[in-house]
């Protein structure tokens, strides 16, 4: 009697399962973040992109966000679990996830992996990145215009190409507004260290910087700039709440359009491994909360360059460009290719303390 009951139950489950798989099953998409979303910064900007994608596709996709996934064994274990739970598209958003993604991807060839900001690819591993340097250049132009001391402070994390590109683009932008501007960089050798960020900021202000920007995670810099009454240029997500009076502009990451385009490809069966690098053309990097004190002539200037960047008639790294050692890196009208940008390890003239 009991056995019969179980049989019915089993059949019922089987029918339910078959019915579910015949009906259009939603695409399961997973997102891995290294830091908690609420800590702000990089992971938060990805989370906003995930929410954008959910709005865009509705019940065609199911998404899951996993926070605090540290590089190493944690990442590997998480990726394997996701693959076993039939997640078909997995976004690993931290640079540190790279090697785990490459290892796990080999065992699950049917699953598409996307790794943000990395440089390794495979048949089922693509990379995606934001051309944040475009936003950096535009913000640099505003900063160069607003600086009266002609000194801009830059609190930087690690001297890796991504950060170096940002510093160079920002410097070129600032010099486009005012050729005499110098950028003073301080490396704190950490992505997230509120106290160091604050000390470095105060030091830069004391050395005469009147605009401060950063490539770090916490809002400590914005708070310190607000206290000292100098301009602050935010990065990653709108940071105006931390410096109501001193916030000049934020260079925001907007992952939504990128996620939408990758997920659409996957849904339509067109996904393939690529190295995607989107900029202002997809609105992936954009300036938000620009201070009302910025003159409108600058704003229209910025908008014009932005349009030119979007239709690829404007190149940030266009010669003549001299590096800090005085060497000519780019001759007249020469430009840098993407491969050179990805491995960039030199600084343009005007940067002080370039490692």
């Amino acid at each position: 009697m009991i056995k019969k009951k179980y049989k019915y139950l089993l059949v019922l489950i089987l029918i339910g399962y078959v019915a579910q798989s015949i009906s259009q099953e939603p695409l399961k998409v997973a997102f891995l973040y290294q830091h908690p979303v609420n800590a702000g910064g990089w992971s938060l900007s990805h989370e906003q992109g995930r929410l954008d994608a959910e709005n865009e596709f509705g019940d065609k996709i199911i998404t899951i966000a996993l926070e605090g996934i540290q590089p190493g064994p944690d990442t590997r274990r998480t990726l394997i679990n996701l693959a076993r739970e039939n997640y078909e598209l997995i976004f690993a958003t931290s640079f540190g996830h790279m090697n785990s993604v490459m290892k796990v991807a080999r065992s699950f060839p049917q699953i598409s992996f996307q790794h943000a900001s990395g440089y390794k690819t495979a048949n089922n591993v693509g990379t995606y990145q934001i051309r944040a340097m475009q936003g950096r250049y535009l913000a640099g132009k505003i900063a160069g215009h607003m600086s009266t001391s002609k000194k801009i402070g830059y609190v930087a994390s690690f001297p890796i190409p991504e950060v170096i590109r940002g510093i160079n683009a920002f410097t070129l932008g600032a010099q486009a507004a005012n050729p005499d501007v110098t950028i003073q960089a301080i490396w704190i050798n950490s992505w997230m260290n509120a106290a160091k960020e604050r000390e470095a900021t105060e030091l830069l202000i004391n050395l005469g910087a009147d605009v401060i920007t950063h490539h770090t995670e916490t809002p400590a810099l914005m708070v310190a700039a607000e206290e000292a009454g100098v301009w602050a240029v935010g990065y990653q997500y709108d940071r105006s709440q931390f410096a109501p009076n001193s916030h000049l502009v934020t260079i925001e990451h907007n992952w939504g359009p990128i996620y939408n385009s990758i997920i659409r490809d996957k849904l339509e069966g067109n996904w393939k491994s690529e190295s995607l690098w989107f900029g202002v053309d997809l609105d992936a990097t954009r300036l938000v909360s620009i201070s009302p004190k910025v003159p409108s002539s600058i704003l229209s200037d910025i908008e014009e360059i932005r349009t030119q960047m979007a239709n690829k008639t404007f190149n940030i790294f266009k010669g003549p460009i001299i590096d800090i050692e005085g060497k000519t890196r780019l001759g007249r009208d020469q430009t840098l290719k993407d491969e050179d940008l990805i491995g960039m390890e030199w600084f343009v003239k005007g940067v002080i303390n370039a490692d």
């Binding site: 908690p36 704190i188 509120a194 030091l203």
Partner: protein, 304 residues
């Protein structure tokens, strides 16, 4: 270098030395009593989150400081209960406390990561003492003054006769028991004091240093303080020296970068640790000869 830069540097050094000093004072007292509590980082972070959340809720600095001290003491009682009653391994229990504290702090602080509070304002000196250097040394917020008062208090306590009971607990707890002292009570009180100091250091970080909440707020200071205390052979004066050397090398390396010294930032970033260790190792050469500077013999040992 102009005078305002020097002023800013001195202020910055004192600011980064204060949490180390507070943590170190607590560690000195508990280690003198023979208790090795490696949970400093956890207590520090919990103190920081407790004071930050209390500040958001009440807007009162004294209440926030008390909340941080209470948080540190509660966590240290979580440590001391198994250690003194069940005689668990102090190293393992301390490490567990660090993990627990960091976890609690992350959980409690998570929803408030975007909030800001107004920082503790410095107390201005009277007009006639307005020389920049003097101002940099003397003009701070109340927690810094509190740390100085506690440092003086601990120094005098360690010189007083009553401290010999504490030190006896650290060197020979059985002898202290035979002499009629309640070793468990003394060790518990010493550890609670350590917890209170770690909480206070956390309050300083969250209320004065960086008035935001970030999980990285401790940034390894608990571990640095533990190392400083060892190298300072549990002496307040040497601890202060170590904290100042560490703080100033830390600030100096940022300054050297900013003025454009062409040196690898990685070497500069390591310099505070190298310089501090070198200085304190030189100081502690004589340790084994001087009985006053010797490590408490029962440090970290269960008292059975």
């Amino acid at each position: 270098m102009d005078i305002y830069l020097i002023e800013a540097m001195i202020t910055a050094v004192i600011r980064s030395a204060t949490p180390l000093l507070l943590l170190g004072l607590g560690i000195i007292i508990s280690e003198r009593a023979g208790i090795l509590n490696l949970g400093q980082e956890g207590m520090l972070t919990c103190g920081a989150v407790a004071s930050f959340l209390t500040m958001l809720a009440t807007g009162s600095f004294p209440i926030s400081i008390l909340a941080a001290v209470a948080a540190g003491m509660i966590l240290s009682s979580v440590f001391i209960t198994p250690v003194l009653i069940l005689h668990t391994n102090q190293v393992a229990t301390g490490l567990a406390l660090t993990i627990l504290g960091l976890g609690i702090a992350a959980l409690a602080g998570n929803p408030y990561a975007g909030e800001t509070i107004t920082a503790y304002q410095v107390i201005s000196l009277p007009e006639f003492m307005s020389s920049p250097i003097l101002r940099a040394i003397l003009e701070h917020d109340p927690i810094v003054y509190l740390s100085w008062i506690i440092a003086i208090g601990v120094t005098f306590f360690l010189r007083s006769s009553s401290s010999s009971i504490l030190i006896a607990c650290g060197h020979a707890p059985r002898v202290a028991t035979i002499l009629g002292h309640n070793v468990i009570k003394i060790q518990a009180l010493a550890t609670l004091f350590g917890g209170a100091m770690a909480g206070l250091a956390g309050a300083y970080l969250a209320l004065s240093f960086t008035p935001i909440w970030s999980e990285s707020i401790g940034a390894g200071r608990g571990w640095i303080a533990l190392a400083l205390v060892v190298f300072a052979s549990r002496q307040v004066g040497r601890l202060l020296l170590g904290a100042i050397i560490f703080g100033s090398t830390d600030i100096l390396q940022l300054l050297l970068q900013a003025i454009g010294l062409s040196m690898s930032s990685h070497i500069l970033a390591a310099s505070p640790y190298l310089v501090t260790i070198a200085a304190l190792v030189l100081l502690s050469r004589q340790n084994n000869l001087n009985p006053k500077l010797r490590e408490p013999r029962s440090l970290g040992q269960p008292n059975i």
